[in-house]
């Protein structure tokens, strides 16, 4: 039987196991939404902005590991998805974004709501497709999902002209697919893995530097196994938080610009750095020429372009992180006498690290009169469930969360690391809550970022999504203000958000609940009240206005040149 293109699209989604999409209707996708009306296997969550649709699909993907799906109309709908797509691309999040397009005979004519979204998204998608014939649709959808989730994952956009949605074709979904031009390397080279194992065993000051690739590859268990077998301390990037339990004595916390003193010192002093699913971002390395100056570097990554992009690498291993780590552990455990000797040899190194940890722990000055944001994060951690999912926006609150929350499980921190997208937190939390209705989902935002997508309060209330929103309100664009304080002689140019917004009233306007805390003693009750209140809740914390994120490595300085908290 022949089906219309719009229907074929939904059948393809169903075949890919998609049960939830985040879509916003419009002229060129009206046929898709018409099919959705009676298509019981797929639920659409209607956001209030296409950017939020993509962030929500992204949050859904980060929390579950599945491919997130968003739908938007042509023209402005499509351009609104671009920030969401670029966010997912930089953090390697698997998405399939479907955009409507004007009918094929009108493409190129500057038709109403026409935009060349294929051209616009070419540099920020893993791949994209324009469907010109309904007969190709099923194969393209199969390719889109395959490309999105395999290798280094990423967003794929499918542009679907209106006439292709209307035209009919036989529907047959391909069982399998092979692309001659796309073959990600999954298995690491055995000889390279053996070399890495022997380098690790002969090292006296090893450090493992784990990134988002560990989370994406679902390799947290393998990483822990390797680290505990070798007694190797582990530092993670922002994207790697949760891939190694921060309550382990081997955890160094996050490294880089706002990393811990001991992580940055350990990386600077180590003799071997094992980079796993990380890409040596400038926020991580500081001054490249002084990054890990004494270390041999082993780099495991599924994407060959990540290797030797920014730093020299002594031993590259291209492959799936999970596969490589699992096989590396087997090699290392092969000779227990060598392993025992190694464990003995690294003891002075671990003692040195313990010394750094006790001399320069993560701290902040406690003051009774005002609320310290770090205190709020610590209290949240104490009170929330072990498996709570945290989504953040971008800025100071994001760094305080990374520094003080102590993540122990993968896929519990959803944050825009690469692109640094303000406005990400609320819709990403929404997507995670859709995926896990029973788990606690907390959006931690600043007052600036929250205002970038606050319209999604409506979506939360409408869909009864009980996201708890924590707004760290300092009436500043705090991170930029911090840079202005430190590097621009306190000239707070356009970072002062002078209008004091009543976020409690705002919550009420949407039919949600709001609580305000202005003193430290109110923090704990506010959090408990929020968790005990059904539905979405805003917790507004009026925090110490000029609190800074410390430690801080100034841009361009080397990692051991940190400005520390006094």
């Amino acid at each position: 039987m022949k089906l219309a293109g719009a229907r074929i699209l939904l059948e393809c989604l169903k075949m890919e196991g998609v049960d939830t999409v985040f879509g916003y209707p419009g002229g060129t996708v009206i046929n898709i939404f018409d099919e959705l009306y009676s298509f019981k296997e797929i639920t659409n969550i209607l956001p209030r902005h296409e950017q939020a649709a993509v962030h929500a699909a992204d949050g859904y993907a980060r929390a579950t590991g599945k491919v997130g799906v968003a739908i938007a109309t042509s023209g402005p709908g499509a351009t609104n998805t671009v920030t969401g797509i670029a966010t997912a691309y930089m953090d390697s999040i698997p998405l399939v974004v479907i955009t409507g397009q004007v009918p094929t005979p009108l493409i190129g004519n500057d038709a109403f709501q026409e935009v060349d979204i294929i051209g616009i998204t070419r540099p920020c998608t893993k791949h994209n497709f324009l469907v010109k014939n309904v007969k190709d649709l099923a194969l393209i959808m199969k390719k889109a999902f395959y490309i999105a989730r395999t290798g280094r994952p990423g967003p794929v956009l499918v542009d679907l002209p209106k006439d292709v949605q209307i035209a009919a074709a036989e529907f047959k979904y391909p069982d399998s697919i092979e692309l001659r031009a796309y073959k990600p390397t999954i298995e690491g080279h055995p000889r390279q893995i053996e070399k890495a194992a022997s380098l690790l065993l002969s090292s006296k000051k090893p450090v493992i530097y784990a990134g988002g690739g560990v989370v994406l590859a679902n390799a947290a268990e393998e990483l822990s196994h390797l680290a505990t077998t070798l007694l190797a301390p582990v530092t993670t990037t922002l994207m790697g938080l949760g891939s190694f339990p921060e309550d382990s004595h081997l955890s160094l916390g996050m490294l880089g610009m706002h990393g811990t003193y001991y992580a940055n010192m350990a990386v600077t002093e180590c003799d071997l750095l094992l980079a796993v699913g990380a890409r040596f971002d400038d926020r991580v390395t500081g001054k490249i020429s002084e990054f890990a100056p004494h270390a041999k570097i082993i780099h495991i990554d599924v994407d060959p372009t990540s290797i030797k992009k920014n730093v020299r690498v002594d031993l590259p291993i291209v492959g799936d992180v999970k596969d490589v780590l699992a096989r590396m552990v087997v090699v290392i455990e092969g000779d227990s006498s060598v392993l025992d000797l190694h464990k003995e040899a690294v003891k002075p190194w671990l003692d040195q690290i313990d010394g750094w940890k006790s001399s320069r722990p993560m701290l902040y000055s406690q003051e009774e009169a005002v609320i310290k944001p770090q205190y709020v994060i610590q209290k949240l951690r104490e009170i929330c469930d072990q498996d709570a999912i945290i989504a953040t926006d971008v800025g100071q609150h994001q760094m305080w969360t990374a520094q003080f929350f102590k993540f122990t499980r993968p896929r519990t921190l959803l944050t825009s690391g690469g692109l640094g997208t303000m406005g990400f937190g609320l819709p990403a939390a929404m997507g995670a809550q859709v995926a896990f209705p029973q788990r606690q989902v907390i959006a931690i935002c600043g007052d600036g970022g929250f205002q970038m997508n606050l319209q999604e309060m409506a979506t939360l209330v409408q869909n009864r999504l009980p996201v708890k929103i924590c707004i760290m309100n300092n009436n500043y664009l705090g991170m930029v203000r911090q840079w202005q304080e430190l590097f621009f002689e306190k000239r707070y140019s356009h970072t002062v958000l002078d209008l004091p917004i009543d976020f409690v009233m705002l919550a009420k306007a949407f039919g949600a609940t709001g609580f305000l805390a202005t003193k430290q003693e109110e923090v704990e009750d506010t959090i408990r009240n929020a968790f005990n209140t059904p539905g979405p809740v805003i917790m507004e914390f009026r925090i110490a206005r000029e609190e800074k994120v410390l430690p801080m490595v100034p841009a361009g300085a080397s990692l051991n040149q940190m400005v520390l908290a006094s």
Binding site: I118, G119, R122, P123, K126, H127, L130, I147, L179, R180, A181, Y182, D303, P304, T305, K308, K309
Partner: protein, 163 residues
């Protein structure tokens, strides 16, 4: 250093802009680029001349390989390939100069493909350095217009290079 890279790509809509966009987006240079379908109509072959040190070239080839439509990438810089380029050149040719132009055309085994009382249009093929040499001789005689295809390259020896 100058590199000649050959790329086999799916003969599909948008591939050229993906490749070109990769170079511009990452700040890599393109000196020249030529592209056309191969004996297998589903595959096109590009010859790209670019410059950079080893580290940049490694990134260029890796990024090209990463594109979903790119089937194969090969750097022919070690001299394992023959490069040929076509140029069409319009020169002023009046009076005594006419004979001189003809002599140069003869020496370089080029062809006159259009003649007027005041000009010749010349077709020349060869290695890029041969074309450069001929242009150097023609320039003082009055070079009016020049169009070059950029080199295209094929490996030496009996072995065919396919997808």
């Amino acid at each position: 250093m100058r590199h000649t890279i050959t790329v086999l790509v799916e003969n599909e809509f948008g591939v050229l802009s993906r490749v070109a966009g990769l170079f511009s987006g990452r700040g890599f240079n393109i000196d020249s680029l030529s592209v056309a379908p191969t004996n297998d109509e589903s595959i096109s072959r590009m010859t790209i001349v670019t410059r950079g040190d080893d580290q940049i070239l490694e990134q260029i080839t890796k990024h090209l390989n990463k594109l979903v439509d790119v089937i194969k990438v090969f750097d022919f810089t070690d001299g394992s390939a023959i490069e040929r380029e076509l140029a069409l050149v319009k020169v002023t040719a009046e009076d005594a100069v006419r004979a001189e132009v003809l002599r140069i055309v003869d020496i370089f085994r080029a062809k006159i493909i259009d003649v007027t009382p005041k000009s010749y249009t010349i077709e020349v093929t060869g290695s890029p350095s041969k074309i450069d040499a001929m242009l150097e001789l023609l320039r003082p005689l009055g070079l009016k217009e020049l169009v070059r295809t950029g080199p295209t390259a094929i490996g030496r020896g009996a072995k065919g290079w396919k997808a």
